[in-house]
Amino acid sequence: MKNLSLKISTPDGNVFEGQAVKLDVRGICGELAVMAGHTAFMTAVKPGHCDLLFEDGSERRGELDGGILNVSADLTTLLASGFRWKE
């Protein structure tokens, strides 16, 4: 599966910067997933889960306090005012 370049940024620094297969968040219009090749779009993200799926099949789950999701051809940026990984 193709990877997308993802950056999750907070006022306290980047919590993730790298490749992932899929990003799952709760947008203001409902649940959404972003994969490689997604059309360029921007939306606001509601507080809630933020799950990442990696190429090796592993997953990483996090929780954010709301933010902005900006998807462009070369980089997907999630700007979150607060973010915590669920380990």
Binding site: S9, T10, P11, D12, G13, N14, G27, I28, C29, T39, A40, F41, M42, T43, A44, D65, G66, G67, I68, N70, S72, A73, T77, L79, S81, G82
Partner: protein, 273 residues
């Protein structure tokens, strides 16, 4: 003849001040790197959110947003966040911030930092907000309440007074106006982008994030400025104390020598009689 005992006491007192300034300078130095890193991270985030806001406010549709409502510049309906330090002994750091705030007399001030809280105490209410430990969650809470008050029409203008870190030696107090949002003209020739569901709704959701990001970034930058200002002030104070000790020591040696000379003269004069 100068009193040698008094001189010795003064030398001791200046010496203990020297120790204090050295210790404070060392504490500031140790915080310098950490505060600089935190500032850079928060600056990056603020720049990204600012980019999103610039993009959104360029669209025609967003002109209808409550966050772009202009209702004059009445100072009593202006809220200003004032970011100062938790402690003094940082040269003109706090004074410069308060001098700038004094230009907006009559505005509703929201202080952050113990010094600012003491300065803008509201009646008997005890406020003790630390600027060093102000988290991004605290900034989020403050931003959300400020945004809902703005859309409810409780005030007309929101500004933030903070200190810009230019270099280790130069930090300047500045004011930045956050609300109402300015319409931006300059949007690069980017690819067409879909706004989900539309620009106006996204702007409404994003503005609290933007305000929170700017507050957090300005607090981190102000703290880095405070630490740098304190280190410079303590360096200068340490240098002054060193010079003062040297001068007093010279004076003390002279006084001591002249007392010895006088004593010898008296003994010789006594022996001759």
């Amino acid at each position: 003849m100068p009193d040698t005992k008094a001189l010795r006491t003064r030398i001791k007192s200046v010496d203990s001040t020297l120790h204090l300034t050295k210790a404070m300078g060392l504490v500031a130095s140790s915080k310098l790197r950490r505060s600089g890193e935190a500032m850079m991270k928060a600056r990056d985030y603020a720049a990204s959110v600012r980019g999103v806001i610039t993009r959104l406010t360029a669209s025609k549709e967003c002109e209808r947003s409550a966050f772009m409502r202009r209702s004059g510049e009445d100072i009593s309906r202006t809220r200003i966040i004032v970011i100062a330090g938790d402690r003094g002994m940082a040269g003109g750091y706090n004074a410069n911030v308060f001098r700038l705030a004094a230009e907006y007399e009559g505005a509703q001030f929201i202080p952050i930092g113990k010094r600012a809280c003491a300065r803008f105490r509201n009646g008997d209410a005890v406020m003790d907000i630390s600027s060093e430990h102000f988290s991004s969650e605290d900034a989020g809470k403050l931003a959300r309440s400020l945004c809902s008050d703005f859309t409810a029409g409780k005030y007309d203008r929101l500004g933030i007074i903070s200190t810009k870190y230019q270099s280790m030696l130069v930090q300047t107090a500045r004011i930045e106006w956050l609300l109402p949002l300015e319409r931006s003209e300059s949007v690069g020739p980017g690819v067409s982008i879909i706004f989900e569901p539309d620009e106006l709704t996204i702007l409404g959701e994003v503005v609290p994030e933007y305000i929170a990001g700017i507050i957090a970034a300005d607090i981190r930058e102000s703290f880095a400025s405070e630490v740098a200002a304190r280190r410079n002030a303590m360096d200068a104070a340490g240098k002054n104390a060193g010079e003062m000790i040297e001068k007093l020591q010279l004076e003390y040696n002279r006084a001591r020598q002249s007392a010895i000379t006088q004593e010898i003269t008296e003994i010789v004069a006594g022996a001759q009689n």
